[in-house]
Symmetry: C2
Subunit: 262 residues, 2 copies
């Protein structure tokens, strides 16, 4: 790839990933929503959609590809089996592969869920002068399993997974206000302050992503995270599940602006 | 029944309906959400939930009862088979009965969807001094099939159904603003003004409910309506579907206040 990530259209970015580029998608195609991906067999599709309906903060549904469908208006001229930079394949709840595409693993009965990603609200946070620490440090956002349980649905259950962003104390209210305008990408925080209240023992040891420090005078703020359904897959052990690799998202054609509510 | 409808708690109202009371629910248990009801066989449950996800203005999901479940936190100590004042039973898309309960018709594989109802936003409209014409006239709200198609999902497709409330021209903006705060009960209007743009030939001949006049200087305003899934049932012809009778809603324990967004 010669072009810079921030100059690629979503179609160009998906083509690059289809061609074999394997990099995290932070910074790609600014202004367009990136999505968490989870494909499950049709027999679990109702349970997953119901899990999302009951846990809308962690699982905000941007779109669903029905069985046999590998493209949609969210990924025009795209192919969900190849257009994500890196995938994870789970069998019976165990991670068995992290391939560049899932053409071999694909089945006609798979239903694909595209869920909103907090990358969308990081831009308006920064535009408001609120530092996004993990971006300033050039690392992935830290994510934690919590002791809080999701509402189960059918065969699916699991813990709430959260992302953590430290925010200067005097900007916490603004961070709440700004992110609450984006319910389609996790919305307002689920918790502000003490990590122990969520069962998080040590902020320096995230379950996914990279550790980020909390400077003096800053407060850890926790948002529901799109990795939550992957945690449900690990716990509920469906025979097959395919997801994106954390941080390696699907870049959609959906403008971030359409996700903002008044 | 000796108690007045507006003094009954949701539990008391459901008990009265279970006991045989068959009346429209407008005015019952003010402050608590009333719900559209649709039960479908398990094999159609994913399609219905996806239909709702793709058509959120007409099908805002308040809750789902899984197969075998006849109660939930939305109807504490309740029974979805008996607690609605009047039901409709559809077989292969045709209305075949309007019973007081559906104990005989019930099946263990039925999944019940509870969808928000615009009754919730009529109270704040009136509180803001915006007249709600059909209430002032003491009739049911007029509802119309439109020429606008819903986004289909699997085996389910159908037209958008709307409710119409005439609003004084100078209050239309306020009506939009107030109802947009209630996305869980259809939210902002889908159309303001000319009925012909929605394929509605004659406001005096609603497809459901009662006709309401549009006084001089008032504008017809159209909101997506929870009868939309019943229209999809009529068109898509599942072997069995059970719904409430229009206007005879389920009274839930959900406070209207929880449905308001900032």
């Amino acid at each position: 790839m010669t072009a810079a990530p921030e100059t690629l259209t979503p179609v160009q970015a998906r083509q690059a990933f289809r061609g074999g580029l394997r990099v995290p998608t932070s910074g790609f195609s600014p202004g367009f929503a990136q999505a968490n991906v989870l494909a499950l067999p049709r027999e679990l599709a109702f349970d997953m959609l119901l899990f999302a309906q009951r846990n809308p903060k962690s699982c905000p549904v941007l779109g669903v590809l029905e069985p046999g469908q590998v493209s949609s208006a969210l990924l025009a001229a795209g192919d969900i089996r190849t257009d994500v930079p890196a995938y994870r394949v789970y069998r019976d709840g165990a991670l068995v592969a992290e391939p560049d595409d899932v053409v071999e693993q694909w089945r006609e009965d798979l239903v694909t869920f595209l869920l909103g990603c907090s990358f969308t609200f990081e831009a308006p946070l920064r535009a408001a002068g609120i530092p996004v620490r993990h971006m300033d440090l050039g690392v992935n956002v830290p994510m934690f399993r919590t002791s809080r349980r999701c509402e189960p649905a059918g065969a699916l259950s699991g813990p709430l997974v959260v992302s953590m962003r430290p925010v200067p104390a005097e900007r916490v209210a603004d961070a709440v206000r700004i992110t609450s305008r984006y319910p389609g990408v996790h919305g307002a925080p689920v918790h502000v302050g003490d990590p122990a209240a969520l069962g998080i023992a040590n902020l320096a040891e995230p379950d996914f992503g990279d550790a980020v420090d909390v400077p003096d005078g800053w407060i850890p703020v926790f948002w529901a995270c799109g990795v939550t359904p992957q945690a449900a897959v690990m716990e509920s052990k469906p025979e097959l599940a395919i997801s994106h690799a954390p941080g390696y998202m699907l870049i959609t054609d959906l403008p971030d602006a359409e996700l903002q509510v008044p």
